[in-house]
């Protein structure tokens, strides 16, 4: 269809040919980002969380694994019967909740970062291929996406982790295998749309190779959507990891996770509500932050809205 267009209708001067992201940005990118309040707030929180996770050994008041049955089920610092130094109290094994929370951020953020990035790469590559080459490639990829969508995601992730075996890599692989479709569908649609635009047709007529066009023209235009999606996916990954930990299929018990703490807190809910409340609050705020960051990024980076 694209080839049928008259060639002379596609001049490649700077005015009509096309705006890659860099050309398009009249204002510097960071200004748009800072103008979006949600990006600033959510981004700062997540940056802080990342620092806390990285420097956990220096920040955490105690060893998250150290048990002391004499000090079990201590309430948080503001409640009656609290022990100084145990800000958020202790669990039934006498482990410090705050320290476990801080170390738990490590697992949560690792999974978020690695799983979301890998899912984005896998999904985007398949989506780009399907959207660009269409035909057989598209047929195969789309059918695969359909079958994937017929699985309940939670069940599928549990199934996958059960098959691969528990552990951090298994959790990451499971998330990637489940959620690549999110990226694939969006990137495929976007690629199809971009491929039909004047500037891509122009690039083709003056003899750029397909791969060059994909990389030079289409990828930069798909990038803003992708960045937003990655942020949203990180939130999803944090939740999935928590769910798998909750069910007991994530990392081994000598590494504190929010999901694991939640499962434990659920067991002793009637004795120590704070063991559940603390990680749940962290999970909530973190998921909300990824969500808002993603939404904010989508707005700030949207090429249409930027002009």
């Amino acid at each position: 269809m694209a080839d049928a267009l008259p060639r002379e209708s596609a001049p490649l001067d700077a005015a009509t040919a096309a705006p890659s992201l860099a050309q398009r940005a009249r204002r510097p990118l960071w200004r748009d980002l800072l103008a979006e309040k949600r990006v600033v707030i959510a981004g700062s929180y997540l940056a802080l969380l990342a620092l806390v996770a990285i420097f956990a050994p220096w920040i955490a008041p105690r060893d998250p694994l150290e048990q002391d049955l004499m000090l079990s089920l201590l309430p948080p610092a503001w409640a009656a019967g609290a022990e100084p130094g145990y800000w958020l109290g202790t669990d039934d094994l006498g482990r410090d909740v705050l320290s476990r929370l801080i170390y738990g951020a490590r697992v949560a953020l690792t999974v978020a970062l690695v799983a979301a990035t890998l899912a984005a790469i896998l999904g985007s590559v398949l989506g780009l291929l399907a959207g660009w080459y269409r035909g057989l490639v598209d047929g195969a990829v789309s059918r695969l996406v359909d079958i994937w969508m017929a699985f309940p995601p939670v069940l599928l992730s549990i199934l996958l982790v059960a098959i691969i075996g528990a552990g951090l890599p298994a959790v990451i692989i499971a998330i990637v295998i489940i959620d690549w479709t999110r990226f694939c569908r969006v990137v495929r649609a976007e690629t199809m749309q971009q491929a039909a635009q004047d500037y891509v047709i122009a690039a083709r007529t003056i003899g750029f190779s397909r791969r060059a066009i994909l990389i030079r023209e289409i990828l930069p235009n798909v990038a803003p959507v992708l960045v937003a999606l990655v942020s949203l996916e990180m939130g999803i990954a944090v939740i999935v990891e928590a769910i798998l930990s909750f069910v007991g299929l994530s990392v081994s018990s000598d590494m504190p996770t929010w999901g694991g703490m939640i499962a434990q807190g659920r067991q002793i809910i009637h004795h120590a509500w704070w063991v559940l409340a603390a990680p749940l609050a962290m999970l909530f705020v973190t998921v909300l932050a990824f969500n808002q960051l993603g939404d904010g990024l989508r707005r700030a980076l949207d090429p249409v809205a930027r002009r």
């Binding site: 309940p152 995601p153 939670v154 098959i163 939740i239 909750f246 069910v247 559940l276």
Partner: protein, 335 residues
């Protein structure tokens, strides 16, 4: 939708379902881990293990196993659960109604809550109230069912203990049910004490499942309602003195529903998928809760049966949504 279109949809659905079955089957067989070993534990003799393997058909080749399973499936036999030692179809029959009632109730609540938010937002449009409604909805939109469920556990089971924490109803209840649809049956048979007890057990899981979907319903419906409210027929009705609320309910709602239903249909399948973890949290005896145990115990026949049941539900939902959309649109209804 014409009969031919329905049949075509069913045919594609069957193919997808078959694809799901194949994927699950292959995944489970190539996975490490031996269900029989999990079942009898250490100390069993080689002969015992071999006998059990033969009993569950696990000594056959992969392809043979698949065809045996497929044959059974067509004959309505889903095999025998290894961990629960009973007929998979029977287990599904026992547990599926609980999940269906949970998901169905959540759908109804989601539509009611989402519809209310959308109507409030529409009535408050272009006023300060709209930002409040939109903000609340944005929060609902961002929080997944898992977090809701646990927040409810914390609030309604501990701080303000009004709802029971686990199960489908009090174990002390002694009623002879003819079906496994306890909620519906107790209502139909006017056993209101039992009905109330079931409702109080279902409140937290239903709300947890319903709120994220409600947020999506609200967002889509509000957009469609506001668009409809700008149409001339609404202006004419307003001139006749209809109140804004009646305009929304009588004039705009019907026109906004098809688009909303179509968009929320897919989201409802996510809700159904969410029952897995929500049932776990509330120890609710549905197939989702059973699924997690089945996976942990590597109970292959049971996992396959459950995944198929979920796949079938997903497909049924999509079909039902298409039919509902068609039924709501007079243009399509009359051909």
């Amino acid at each position: 939708m014409s009969l031919a279109a329905v049949l075509r949809r069913l045919a594609t659905a069957a193919v997808t379902l078959f694809g799901v079955a194949v994927v699950v089957f292959v995944l489970l067989r190539v996975a490490p881990g031996d269900p029989i070993a999990m079942m009898i534990g250490p100390g069993a003799s080689e002969a015992d293990i071999a006998a059990l393997r033969a009993r569950y058909g696990l000594d056959q080749g992969l392809v043979t196993q698949f065809f045996i399973w497929l044959q059974g499936l067509i004959a309505g036999d889903l095999g025998t659960s290894i961990s629960l030692r009973s007929d998979v179809l029977g287990l599904l029959g026992q547990r599926l109604p609980a999940t269906l009632e949970l998901a169905g109730a959540a759908l109804v609540v989601a539509l009611l809550v989402g519809g209310t938010i959308a109507i409030l937002g529409t009535l408050a449009r272009r006023s300060p109230g709209e930002a409040v409604v939109d903000g609340a909805n944005g929060l609902l939109l961002a929080v997944p069912d898992f977090i809701w469920a646990l927040a409810f556990v914390l609030v309604f089971a501990v701080f303000i203990p009004v709802f029971p924490l686990t199960g489908r109803m009090d174990p002390t209840i002694d009623m002879d049910f003819a079906t496994r649809f306890f909620l519906l049956e107790s209502l139909v048979r006017a056993e209101f004490a039992v009905f109330g007890n079931i409702v109080s057990h279902m409140t937290m899981p239903v709300l947890a499942l319903a709120l994220p979907l409600a947020a999506i319903v609200a967002r889509v419906l509000k957009g469609a309602l506001i668009e409809a409210m700008g149409q001339d027929y609404v202006l004419l009705a307003r001139l006749k003195g209809k109140s804004e609320l009646r305009l929304v309910l009588q004039e705009a709602l019907r026109n906004a529903l098809p688009a909303t239903l179509a968009l929320t249909g897919v989201q409802f399948t996510f809700l159904v998928g969410g029952t897995v973890i929500i049932e776990r949290i509330f120890a609710y005896p549905g197939i989702g809760n059973m699924a997690i145990d089945a996976v942990i115990n590597r109970d292959l026949p049971l996992i396959q049966g459950i995944v198929l049941a979920f796949g079938a539900m997903f497909i049924a939902i999509n079909l039902a949504v298409d039919l509902a959309v068609a039924a709501l649109n007079p243009r399509l209804r009359h051909g």
